[in-house]
């Protein structure tokens, strides 16, 4: 945290604070634990099965009696996945697209969130309704006109065009979630910082911004996932030359129908960065997501 005095004293949004531990031991904890393990097994199984298939010899993968451990372990499938078509190109493009979308989305969204949470102005209600409505529109329905529009402005088959498109996917959610955080930061906090000689911007940066961190992380992760995963728009708006990771994997599915082991290797490669990133920031995600809604 920034070493500003008021920030330390002030209560951060409740959501960001770790929940008080429940010390009371409910009866049947063992039963709950067993259930919990079962849930973890079921939820984790597809992930495990993907990794398992990825690292076992292709012959074992099509053995009618499945092997539950990838032994003997092999990297052949990974090699084959690389070989089938360019791998780093799509991954690199997906990273660029996701990172740019998140970066721009956060800045632009934060500004909008500030506007609707810190200012009373005419048309505010209309803007809120508008942003909420936009979130309703099923994006799949828009693909035809979005395609025509991007083509009209010369953004077909451009990464900038797809980034622009993805921005609209994440902006409503970003604005709404960040708004939830901002309204929870007492205005007095900013004011006291300003009394201490900070400018309004300075007060914002030193006081408000740190308190927004969980919200920013949560929306960043949400946006990243959306952009990293998106399939249909990437399929229609980019040529093969510029294809993204999901499209790369999608092609792989149709053309090499039954080569499952290399496909799982490709899938693993694509999933690893996201899963790792997620595990690292997961605690912040949860608090971030609820703060926006519960404390509204």
């Amino acid at each position: 945290m920034t070493p500003t005095a008021p920030a330390a004293e002030a209560a951060p949004p409740a959501a960001a604070r770790p929940a008080p531990a429940r010390r009371r031991r409910p009866r049947g904890r063992a039963l709950y634990n067993a259930l919990g393990v079962l849930v973890a097994l079921v939820a984790g199984f597809p992930v495990y099965w993907m990794v398992n298939t990825a690292f076992k010899p292709a012959k074992d993968a099509i053995d009618p009696d499945p092997k539950f451990l990838p032994w003997p372990m092999t990297l052949d499938n990974v090699r084959r996945a690389f070989q089938i078509s360019d791998f780093w190109g799509p991954i690199g493009r997906s990273l660029v697209i996701a990172a740019s979308t998140v970066g721009i989305g956060l800045v632009v969204g934060l500004l909008a969130a500030l506007a609707i949470s810190r200012f009373a102005f005419r048309g505010r209600r209309a803007v809120i309704v508008g942003i909420l409505t936009v979130q309703m529109v099923p994006l799949i329905a828009m693909i035809i006109p979005v395609f025509l529009m991007l083509n009209d402005i010369g953004q077909y088959d451009k990464l900038t065009g797809i980034i622009l498109t993805y921005l609209t996917f994440i902006l409503p959610f970003t604005v709404w979630t960040l708004r939830g955080f901002i309204v929870n930061i007492p205005r007095e906090l900013e004011e006291s910082a300003m009394v201490d000689g900070c400018s309004r911007t300075g007060a914002f940066v030193r006081v408000v911004f740190p308190l927004l961190a969980p919200g920013l992380v949560a929306t960043a992760v949400y946006g990243f996932i959306q952009a990293w995963n998106e399939y249909l728009y990437a399929l229609m708006l980019l040529s093969k030359e510029h294809q993204t990771a999901p499209v790369w994997l999608g092609n792989f599915t149709t053309q090499h129908g039954t080569e499952y082991a290399p496909m799982m290797a490709g899938a693993t490669l694509m999933a690893v960065p996201v899963v790792v990133f997620f595990l690292l920031v997961q605690r912040r995600i949860a608090s971030g997501l609820t703060a926006g809604a519960v404390k509204g």
Binding site: A15, R22, P26, G36, V37, V39, A40, A43, P46, V47, W49, A61, A99, V102, G103, I104, L106, V107, V108, L111, A112, F119, F121, V127, I131, L132, M136, V137, P138, I140, M142, I144, L164, T165, T168, L171, P172, S199, R200, T201, V205, R206, A213, L232, P246, G250, T253, G257, Y260, M263, M264, A267, A271, V275, Q282, A286, S287, L289, T290, A293
Partner: protein
């Protein structure tokens, strides 16, 4: 305190510093970037003339401008175009610019709404969405309730599994499920065949579309539960314990406490999650599209794939747009409730 009062003083720096440098500030996502702070004194220097022009409503609108611009360009304009398209005859020749589009009034809608196939697709979509949303919410709530009752190590374990499955890219998840339910080598058939009396060796799950949708629903729910469970769990940890205890003292059972104390407090989250789930599940596309090898059979068509099919496979972009528009209207009806709820929240301060 009204915003207008504080606005004139600081408006210019706020606008220049944050607004102008926006695209470069990706790092802002993580930590307060020192650059904004440094930029502000310089930005403030030019004096009071500019400041005055941005008084009143100008500043909030300036802050909103980038967002509104993006939304108008990429959603507003296409939305208009979608409406226009749905009243035209628009095929390949029009798409390629060889022929002008022709106005046909309500013909496309008449054709769509008069087609029995369309209504069966609507029914299928509604059934699928309902099933998936209910399952997602119930399972998500159960997992969340479980999470506050288990030991820490189990909680960590479940969290890892949830996060891992949540973050699986959809295309990857579809691929994995397709592989698990493969008729010849799928592990699902093998596992189920271990149950005495069940022999599913070589069973094809997609021959029968009801079974096929079971698999697709499982995939969708599996992907959606983590978000719901994690969010609800975070919400649960904020329910004041005193309230629950007080209810318990009054003699309420576990179910009673949940119904009368926990649920009302969580209501905004639940409404938000349900609505988002409806939007997402109604918008399910890659799950069906890729699961059926890029060409869903008629009995696998949902509104999304059907619209795509009409537009891009049958090259009838106008009818595809009409279907999409009907989908939007349907969805807007469904989520009107959510809108009201959110608006009330928006008015609170």
């Amino acid at each position: 305190m009204s915003a207008a009062q504080t606005t004139p003083e600081q408006s210019t720096p706020g606008q220049t510093a944050t607004g102008r440098t926006a695209p470069e500030h990706t790092a802002a996502a993580a930590a307060p970037p020192p650059r904004t702070a440094k930029a502000s004194p310089a930005g403030r220097a030019p004096g009071s003339g500019l400041r005055r022009r941005l008084t009143g409503a100008a500043l909030p609108w300036t802050l909103l401008a980038p967002t509104l611009l993006v939304l108008l360009l990429v959603l507003g304009y296409p939305l208009t175009r979608l409406v226009v398209l749905s009243f035209q005859r628009f095929g390949q020749s029009q798409l390629w610019g060889f022929q002008p589009a022709e106005w046909v009034g309500f013909d496309n809608f008449a054709a769509v709404l008069g087609d029995g196939v369309f209504w069966s697709v609507v029914l299928r979509t509604v059934l699928f969405t309902t099933g998936a949303v209910v399952l997602t919410m119930v399972l998500g709530m159960l997992v969340a309730l479980l999470l506050v009752r288990v030991s820490t190590w189990v909680k960590t374990l479940v969290n890892i599994a949830l996060v891992a499955s949540w973050s699986m890219p959809i295309v990857v998840a579809v691929t994995v499920f397709k592989w698990m339910f493969d008729s010849d080598y799928g592990v699902a058939n093998w596992l189920l065949s271990r149950i005495p009396g069940v022999d599913l060796t070589g069973h094809n799950w997609f021959t029968n579309s009801t079974q096929g949708f079971l698999v697709i629903t499982a995939l969708v729910v599996w992907g959606a539960v983590p978000f719901v469970a994690i969010t609800l769990h975070a919400g649960l940890t904020q329910v004041p314990r005193e309230l629950e205890e007080a209810a318990r003292m009054d003699g309420a059972g576990a179910a009673g406490v949940f119904r009368h104390v926990t649920l009302p407090i969580l209501k905004p989250v639940v409404v938000m999650l349900t609505t988002l789930s409806v939007i997402w599940d109604m918008g399910v596309f890659p799950q069906v599209f890729l699961m059926r090898g890029g060409h869903p059979e008629p009995e696998y068509q949902l509104l999304t794939t059907y619209s795509y099919d009409r537009a891009f496979v049958a090259n009838d972009y106008a009818t595809g747009s009409a279907i999409a528009l009907v989908t939007v209207l349907l969805l807007l009806g469904v989520v009107a409730v959510y809108m009201r709820q959110m608006l009330t929240i928006g008015e609170v301060e």
